[in-house]
Symmetry: C2
DNA sequence: CTGGCTATCCTTAGTCT
DNA sequence: TAGACTAAGGATAGCCA
């Protein structure tokens, strides 16, 4: 149970790396999720899975929807909980608020998407490149690396 | 100093929200950064700044480069630190490893970019929409919301 | 508003199942 | 292999400068 201060460096042991990846990815996604709720914003994390060349995107289209819903439901409901039998004006104001919040959320999601587009414009990719090509290449590189590791193990 | 368990819900107080945003964003970026180093992968977080309609992307082109460098420098250097005066074969193997690691990193960055492209293809945006348009709209919505909040304050 | 401080809460490395 | 457990380490809410 003696956990030392972890050195932030590449984990060579495959199993430890896998475990750490799984745990920490979960933690990051949770934190991103919390921030979106606490601050009523859109946010996402895009992280590669080093073990099956999958890429994990959060929020996915489904997750993003959930965030917006949660935002709309919790942000102003709590605030107005103590006036659920409020006056006509209060009800109207509440409705307007909800509408504006929704507008704002939609707007911000668009902003984020545009930002991603702008970010991607700084990256240049060969036109004829596909994800499957890359996965194949990655597999080959991985195999080479394993071979080298074995050679090293033999030498040391 | 009595910090209670925080309820994950939209923070109504502007200053508290701002402080929380600043602190937690920093924490998330750190965690993402650590994960990329620990597991030798690419990862990024895209988070809106709720206060100036800016969108913070990590890694930015500069940050991404740093990650790759750090990855290349730390992942295998530590492992081979105890053989820095190694044999000819060991030196060659080390060089091959570095090359392959670099290839792999490049490959993974391309994968991520492609993944982002695929993600964006699920989003449809009006063609004639610009980030400045959205910022203008956002500002207007913000002003409306403030007005409503003032009205509510007057009523309550 | 931003950054530093610290008690408290939260995350996670190591371990077993 | 992934989940559960638990203590050490890390993040951060609230407060002050």
């Amino acid at each position: 149970m003696t956990r030392k201060k972890v050195k932030v460096a590449y984990i060579n042991d495959v199993n430890a790396r896998k475990a750490t990846f799984r745990k920490r990815k979960k933690g990051i996604m949770k934190k991103v999720n919390e921030l979106t709720i606490l601050c009523g914003i859109q946010g996402c994390a895009i992280i590669q899975n080093p073990f099956d060349s999958q890429i994990e995107v959060w929020p996915n289209p489904k997750g993003a929807k959930k965030v917006v819903e949660r935002y709309l439901n919790t942000s102003k409901v709590d605030e107005t909980k103590n006036m659920n039998q409020g006056s006509f004006f209060e009800q109207r104001i509440y409705k307007s608020q909800s509408k504006l919040n929704k507008l704002r959320s939609e707007n911000r999601e668009k902003e984020m998407t545009l930002a991603m587009l702008e970010y991607l414009q700084t990256k240049k990719l060969p036109e004829n490149l596909s994800l499957t090509d890359l996965k194949e290449m990655d597999k080959m590189v991985e195999e080479y690396m394993k071979e080298i590791e074995n050679m090293m193990a033999t030498l040391c």
